[in-house]
């Protein structure tokens, strides 16, 4: 975004029958940094034969060369509404609402006159259609406002001609432009007159922060009414002609493949079944209803070839991780030190909406609908799989029912495309929850070794060696070349390291500090989960901080405050200590915990109180995991400029629930090449009975002009605070997460057939 002086920016008016204005979506800083060739990758060898399978280079370049194709556009309609197709995925984080607020702000429009939809995959945007790394608001904050400001300027100019008054005398309010003499005209009536007959660049000024009337004030979500009435449409709710319910019979172990099927014809003859076909991931069935798909999947008799993690279990993976750990240093430090090794188990990033997609593949073209955070990579990979040119594949981004990292990948979209092509019909593909849990992506198991040396009142050094089952970052940063680079055996290590170092920081004055990441074992379906490396890395660090404080005879809060490097960090920490009444007297086996974390230009602190008394731990809940209860939580965040405080609060609440789950209850158990967990009654994400009855979110006032990242910020802080509180309540620092992983709290469901039958006793359980 070229800046012209402090507040002037360049935008565009495009040629169109109605007013369409635009701005460049400049590459984000993180994208350009990570796009550099990863260390250790031989130059010139990157475009291996694979690349031509994935992308027709010419195709991308042609699109990129169109003069105004890489712009984001705001459109003013004759009914007085303004629309914008956001090149990001809305998965619950509230970016359609915050984007509408930015447009409403610059155009002085009521929020309900702004319609924000999700853009189809647009390869010409290159890096700029990835939803991740808490980057949406950071990267779109200025461009969206510029496009809206250009629209404002054009509307005022058209009104000046219409009303015979100079622009400077006009007032735009609530979609109506008024002249001093009383004449007025609505922006809808001007939409055609303000339109451009040819594309041109114009410069505009943006509103100063002090003038904001919408941004920075709490607003409810623009899709809330649709959500509470059941009208919000997710991929599975779309009515695409002839896209019939489709499911896949999946292998009993991770990534197994079909050897043979004994009864294809028998299953094809089942009621409602239209098609059965062997595909790369299993045996696909298409039927009139998903109920019939479930029956058909369960009826299939399949012989399976081994998967990618055959024979592996928690213990063997842990052994592999330990063998891959980098040393903390050969000699023990000469000064006093604290040292520990932490273990973090596999976790599921399943959203409540399972992996799903609709695909309509024809001989010469394909159309896909799915919740996708990296739709460009999806489009190009699907085109490659179907052997179609990318321009023949249309990828629609649907509203997503949660993501938590899962929708960075497009496993269901790719699979749906393959199935649709194979059977020659449109399909509505849904992964059963058991598929989603057992074959879906996971947050990888990891260990973190930490050693901190101190002397007197000084921390001399801090070393952390994080060792993880490989995290698949194959979605790259939204663009297929980067995605390819991440798949190279050597380049991938450089890519992960780059991401690790870009996303981790040391907020404390701990002398010489170093953090290294080692990754090993690529046999699992992994992906980044909300916060990626931060929750585990920060949890380990904050527990060590508590240990240091204890060894050095200091209070955990005061220790952190004294060692934090900057004022914003200290301010959030002091805020939670004050609001949460840090240090108050509490009964035995209950305690407070406090933690700090900063990332993506934002700072956060969390104070929790936990109750580990037996009567609480063993409180009766039918078929539920109870355990220690977080009874109170206070979160303070400084994200710089807050666009929508109400949405930010919601994000922080969600982060807290994730943090509680990761410390106390939620993990996957790996045995003999598969995960035991097959549904929500096995995987213990935070439930109402684990929710803190007392919860306070504090958004720090900020003079900053720039928004920081917020979607993931609070997960690491919350996880760490709960772990610290647990350690203080029980007197023992926890070193393995979640703390209940050693107890299997359910009877594992069978792996053959791969999905359970639906119960039939629903009438007995109405209440």
């Amino acid at each position: 975004m070229p800046g012209l002086g402090r507040r002037r920016f360049l935008g565009y008016v495009l040629a169109a029958p109605t007013l369409v204005t635009a701005a460049e979506l400049a590459p984000a800083a993180t994208a350009s940094a990570a796009a550099e060739t990863p260390a250790g990758m031989p130059s010139g060898e990157l475009p291996s034969p694979e690349i031509t399978e994935l992308v027709d280079l010419n195709d991308v370049m042609t699109l990129a060369a169109l003069p105004t194709s890489n712009l984001i556009t705001v459109e003013v309609h004759q009914d007085g509404t303004v629309s914008f197709a956001l090149p990001r995925a809305e998965v619950g984080q509230g970016i359609t609402t915050s984007t509408a607020m930015l447009i409403a702000e610059e155009l002085d429009l009521p929020l309900d006159r702004v319609r924000v939809t999700l853009a189809d995959a647009r390869p010409e945007l290159l890096f700029n259609q990835l939803t991740g790394a808490s980057n949406t608001t950071i990267s779109t904050y200025t461009p969206v406002r510029v496009a809206a400001a250009v629209a404002r300027r054009r509307l005022l100019e058209a009104a000046a001609r219409e009303l015979g008054a100079p622009v400077g005398d006009l007032k735009l309010r609530a979609g109506v432009i008024t002249a001093p003499g009383g004449g007025s005209v609505s922006i809808g009536a001007l939409a055609g007159k303000a339109a451009g007959d040819q594309a041109r660049r114009v410069s505009v000024e943006l509103k100063e922060r002090e003038q904001f009337k919408v941004v920075g004030r709490p607003h409810n979500r623009i899709d809330a009414l649709a959500a509470v009435t059941g009208r919000k449409k997710f991929a599975l709710d779309l009515d695409i002609p002839d896209a019939r319910p489709t499911m896949v019979c999946r292998p009993p172990t991770i990534n197994g493949t079909v050897a043979s099927v004994a009864n294809l014809d028998e299953v094809r003859a089942m009621t409602g079944v239209t098609d059965v076909a062997v595909v790369s991931t299993g045996v696909a069935v298409r039927a009139r209803t998903f109920g019939q798909c479930v029956k058909a999947v369960r009826a299939l008799r399949v012989s399976w070839k081994p998967g990618t993690a055959e024979g592996k279990s928690d213990e063997t993976v842990l052994k592999t991780l330990r063998a891959a750990e980098q040393p903390l240093g050969l000699l023990p430090p000469l000064t006093p030190s604290v040292e520990a090794r932490f273990t973090f188990r596999f976790r599921s990033n399943s959203a409540l909406e399972p992996n799903c997609a609709i695909a309509d593949v024809r001989p010469d073209r394909a159309e896909i609908w799915s919740g996708l955070k990296a739709p460009i990579v999806a489009k190009q990979a699907i085109a490659a799989r179907l052997k179609l040119p990318p321009h023949a594949v249309t990828v629609h981004v649907t509203e997503g029912g949660g993501s938590f990292g899962r929708k960075l990948f497009f496993d269901a979209a790719l699979e749906a495309a393959e199935i649709s092509q194979k059977i020659g019909k449109p399909v509505k593909l849904m992964w059963h929850r058991a598929d989603d849990a057992r074959q879906g992506r996971t947050h990888p198991m990891a260990t973190s070794r930490v050693r901190a040396a101190y002397l007197g009142n000084t921390v001399l050094s801090y070393k952390q060696r994080h060792t993880s089952v490989s995290t698949d970052l194959g979605h790259g940063l939204g663009e297929v070349f980067t995605a390819l680079a991440a798949k190279l055996p050597v380049g991938d290590i450089g890519f992960s390291q780059t991401f690790f170092h870009l996303s981790q920081s040391m907020p404390y004055n701990f002398g010489h500090h170093s953090r290294l990441l080692s990754e090993t074992d690529k046999s699992f379906n992994t992906g980044s989960m909300r916060g990626v490396y931060s929750p585990d890395v920060v949890c380990a660090r904050e527990l060590i901080v508590d240990r240091l404080a204890s060894e050095m005879g200091k209070d955990p809060f005061r220790f952190r405050r004294d060692f934090l490097r900057d004022d914003r960090a200290r301010a959030v920490l002091e805020k939670v200590a004050e609001a949460g009444d840090w240090g108050r007297t509490m009964p035995a086996r209950t305690a407070q915990g406090i933690a700090f974390h900063s990332e993506y230009h934002s700072a956060s602190a969390v104070l929790v109180e936990i109750d580990c008394r037996p009567e609480t731990v063993d409180r009766p809940i039918r078929d539920g995991v109870t355990g220690p209860r977080v009874t109170k939580a206070v979160l303070a965040v400084d994200v710089g400029l807050t666009v929508n405080p109400r949405g930010l609060e919601a994000q922080m609440m969600g982060c807290l629930m994730d943090g509680i789950a990761q410390t106390l209850t939620s993990s996957l158990h790996l045995r003999d090449g598969y995960f035991l967990e097959a549904s929500w009654d096995n995987y213990f994400y935070t439930r109402q009975w684990n929710t803190p009855p007392e919860l306070k979110i504090i958004i720090m006032p900020s003079a900053s002009d720039r928004p920081g990242g917020a979607g993931e910020l609070g997960v690491a802080t919350s996880m760490a605070a709960v772990a610290c509180a647990y350690g203080r309540a029980t007197g023992t620092m926890p070193t393995s997460f979640p703390i209940n992983h050693g107890t299997l709290s359910f009877v594992p469901k069978p792996t053959v057939p791969p999905i359970p039958a639906s119960p039939t006793d629903g009438l007995d359980h109405t209440r």
Binding site: A224, T289, F290, L352, G762
Partner: protein, 158 residues
């Protein structure tokens, strides 16, 4: 294919489906009623929660043949009409508290909340923390706290 007759959102309907087809798929795949969501198919996540004769019920676990012609099935789509308004007070409370994040589980959460408030009222008492703790609907976005506040607020207006 067998026919099944029951009441759905205030109307008598007849639908052709396998006897053991679960009501969830009759609603979603045959009738196009997509408010009730799939989240597990085994009655543990509660995303499909709807009402059967006013009580919370999970269509993923009800074979359609078990419904009688007089049985009234209410999905989120039919909830406002039960109070003769555009929005049920519980939906309004959900809006006031801005509960939804992705929104996938929220139709089920609201239907559970309405049934809970009715049951508690019939027992002649007010909603307690224990009542809220015992709600089984999963929200993977973690909106639990606002759900608790919305239920308390919505109950005041029911």
């Amino acid at each position: 294919m067998p026919e099944h007759t029951f009441r759905l959102n205030g109307e008598q309907i007849t639908v052709e489906a396998d006897d053991d087809e679960r009501l969830l798929w009759v609603l979603r795949d045959i009738l196009g009623i997509t408010g009730p969501k799939y989240g597990c198919g085994i009655n543990v996540c509660k995303a499909c929660t709807s009402h059967l004769n006013g009580k919370a019920a999970n269509p993923c676990a009800i074979p359609v043949k078990e419904l009688r012609p007089t049985d009234e099935v209410t999905t989120i789509e039919g909830l406002p009409a039960t109070v003769g308004k555009d929005l049920h007070p519980m939906q309004q409370a959900w809006l006031d508290q801005d509960v939804a994040q992705c929104g996938y589980c929220q139709p089920g959460q609201i239907m559970t909340a309405v049934a809970l408030v009715r049951r508690v009222a019939q027992e002649g008492r007010r909603i307690t923390d224990a009542d809220l703790d015992n709600i089984r609907n999963i929200c993977r976005c973690g909106t639990y706290f606002r759900i608790r506040e919305a239920i308390r607020a919505g109950a005041e207006n029911m």
